[in-house]
């Protein structure tokens, strides 16, 4: 009785095994590409106009296609399905038979370039899902959606040429990158602020580098980058990135991000026609490094993300009262305790010449008329009286400890830019206030404190750094 049970068990399991082997064999004999190639051949035979073309079509051998390119270390098998990619007859056909769009293949013969060097995807795969690397196949570089494909062009070409022929999107992305001030926070080639992550090589970073938890749709690099541009905090909740982009701009910048790859193309592939560097003047430098936070620099905005007010650095009331030397110190050394990074060569890679150009741009609209001098040294300042005044006059904006910060209108008075500043400058600011900001005039024009009181207050503010 028992032996019969085991016998039937053996029988069933053998049958199952044979069935599985049959399925596997069948699959191996009829791969996806075979179906497509038969379709392609049938199409050509059916649409042949004369006998000779029909004969040629009938002679097409069905078999695995592979292009091996030694210098790129690629063996692209894409043509196994996409056999019509070079055939003008297939211009209107459905994928995978359609001819390649545009005139790209004229200058990039498939035999030399292959496909994956531009389109990415898995070169050796023999079915669509794995070759395209989509739908959670965990292939690091799935096929690039056509809207971002121009990012691949910049591997070999310069932007000036791309702008003129066939690479408009990536060229515009590069322009946007400079105009939106991305380098204000992100370093590229050693130049840029350090609030954000270095974006060098982002286009060839493996999948595991990114947190994909909140990405909608396929979990891949392209979706991550695009959705991060749309709403940084939806993808990385602790992100401080300030970004205001339209959908189109986000797409262009995503395209541009794909140009940051680590691998270099072999010399005989690259074609740099114009090595003209874009003109770098004060305005474009301001846009590259400052605009992301300071926008046009005319109004000061309280920022929800930074939890502080970002100063209006091109406001005439500011530029009038600050001299170039003072500005240079702030730009070079940054402001500790705020998001303002140090921009000197050793920290953010800006040369003195660059900084001078930026200062020129910032102070472009500096009014001729200097403020009336205060004469701080004439007054014998009483720090204790200054403290009393501070506690009723300044405390509610700058905080009891002068630290400013979240929930306070005023700036941090303990930072070096204030503590190292000339008392004369501070006294003038307190006396006249700062237009375009919440700092009101405490002098005779405003809240009617006399100069002695102001001198006392300034003297007290100068002692804040010595406090605990």
């Amino acid at each position: 009785m028992q032996s019969r049970f085991y016998l039937s068990l053996l029988l069933i399991s053998s049958l199952v095994l044979i069935a599985f082997m049959g399925i596997a064999f069948n699959r191996e004999m009829n791969p996806e590409w075979k179906k497509y190639q038969t379709e392609y051949k049938d199409f050509l035979v059916k649409n042949a106009k004369d006998a000779s073309t029909r004969q040629r079509a009938e002679r097409i051998q069905i078999g695995m296609q592979q292009i091996y390119i030694k210098s790129l270390e690629r063996s692209d098998r894409c043509m196994s399905c996409h056999r019509g990619v070079e055939n003008p007859l297939m211009a209107e056909a459905e994928q995978p038979h359609r001819q390649h769009s545009g005139n790209y293949l004229e200058n990039h013969p498939i035999a030399k370039f292959g496909c994956t060097v531009c389109h990415r995807g898995q070169d050796r795969a023999t079915n669509m899902r794995e070759a395209h690397g989509e739908e959670h196949t965990h292939w690091d570089f799935p096929i690039i959606p056509s809207k971002y494909i121009q990012g691949s062009c910049a591997q070999c070409h310069d932007y000036e040429m791309l702008r003129q022929e066939g690479g408009e999107k990536v060229a515009r992305g590069e322009e946007l990158f400079r105009q939106k001030g991305c380098q204000g926070c992100h370093k590229i080639g050693g130049k840029g602020g350090d609030l954000g992550k270095d974006i060098a090589g982002i286009g060839s970073r493996p999948f595991a580098y990114f947190s994909m938890k909140h990405v909608v749709g396929d979990h891949n690099l392209y979706n991550w980058v695009k959705q991060h541009f749309d709403d940084p905090r939806a993808i990385v909740p602790e992100s401080e990135m300030r970004v205001f982009l339209t959908d189109e701009e986000a797409e262009l910048l995503t395209t541009y991000m794909m140009t940051f790859v680590t691998a270099e193309m072999p010399r005989n592939y690259t074609l740099i026609k114009n090595v003209i560097q874009p003109k770098i003047d004060g305005e474009s430098l301001y846009k590259m490094y400052c605009i992301a936070c300071h926008s046009d620099g005319r109004v000061s905005l309280y920022d929800e993300i930074f939890k502080r007010t970002i100063p209006a650095i091109r406001n005439p009331a500011f530029t009038r009262s600050i001299d170039d030397e003072h500005l240079r110190t702030i730009i070079k050394e940054g402001r500790k305790g705020t998001q303002m990074t140090a921009w000197k060569v050793s920290a953010a890679g800006l040369t003195d010449a660059d900084i001078n150009k930026i200062i020129m741009y910032i102070t472009m609209n500096r009014p001729e008329k200097k403020p009336e001098p205060f004469g701080f040294l004439k007054y014998k300042a009483d720090v204790r009286h200054g403290e009393e005044l501070y506690n009723i006059r300044c405390e509610f904006c700058h905080g009891a400890e002068g630290k400013g910060g979240e929930g306070f209108l005023g700036i941090n008075l303990r930072n070096p830019a204030v503590q190292k500043a000339d008392p004369e400058f501070l006294a003038i600011t307190v006396r006249d206030g700062r237009e375009g900001t919440p700092m009101v005039s405490f002098g005779m024009k405003g809240l009617k404190l006399d100069n002695q009181d102001i001198a006392d207050m300034v003297a007290y503010v100068k002692t804040l750094s010595q406090k605990k």
């Binding site: 009723i392 509610f396 929930g407 009101v440």
Partner: protein, 265 residues
Amino acid sequence: MIPSITKCKRVLLIVCLFLFPLTSVVLAQENDDEYAALVESGKKVYEVRCLLCHGSKGDGNGPVGIIRRAERNGRVLEIVPRDLTMAVFRFRTTPTGCLADDQDILNIINNGVPRSFMPAHEKIPIQEREAVKEYIKTFSYRWEEEDPCEPIAVVKPEWVGSSKSVDKGKIIFKEMKCGECHGYEGKGDGPKSNDLKDDWGKQILPFNFSTGDLKRGSTPENVYITFTSGLDGTGMPSYEDSLNEEDRWHLVSFTLKLMGKLDKK
């Protein structure tokens, strides 16, 4: 002797009768003087600490002017300090349309209003805070003419925050069309959010539940009061009449969920 006593009494009574109005007038005079002194001291504190933002007339037009510019979809919103001359306050415990309770005003002075630069003044002496409160009341005639209202009673049911209550709240959120302003996911980006104005004609933003705490505090009780009293002067109405108490508490559960307050527990 007896008649003389009664006579004496009568005289005394008459004198007292005459004196009574006189004394009450004197006493009232004294009270008035005290009140005037309080208001006067409040004025002094106000001029040093409050005038910068709220202005000398209490109309929110002080030397500081615009205290904050917020940027939303490329639109810059200018946020100015509160105008006290209409005696309209958002953070009350009284029903909509009513004057604020004394304690409501003191609460704002004491604790400040987060994310609006109104600082907390707990450290200054209580007499000064009381005095400022009385001085603020001189900005509007409403404080003299209208009677104060009773504060809303808040009794939090046990089930607030339970998943069942959150689900019910979600349905109410949808039914009451809260999403039209606050966004269907509570991100403050509903279809009407771009053209909301307050009673002073200034553009305002509906609350984005994903940004953090409510200005009045995010306890369930505070959220309930917001639904019940409404935020007078803004587009946020009172739901005292349109939703029953239970539904309002369900809505509280859902709002707490949106703010992520239920996850931490």
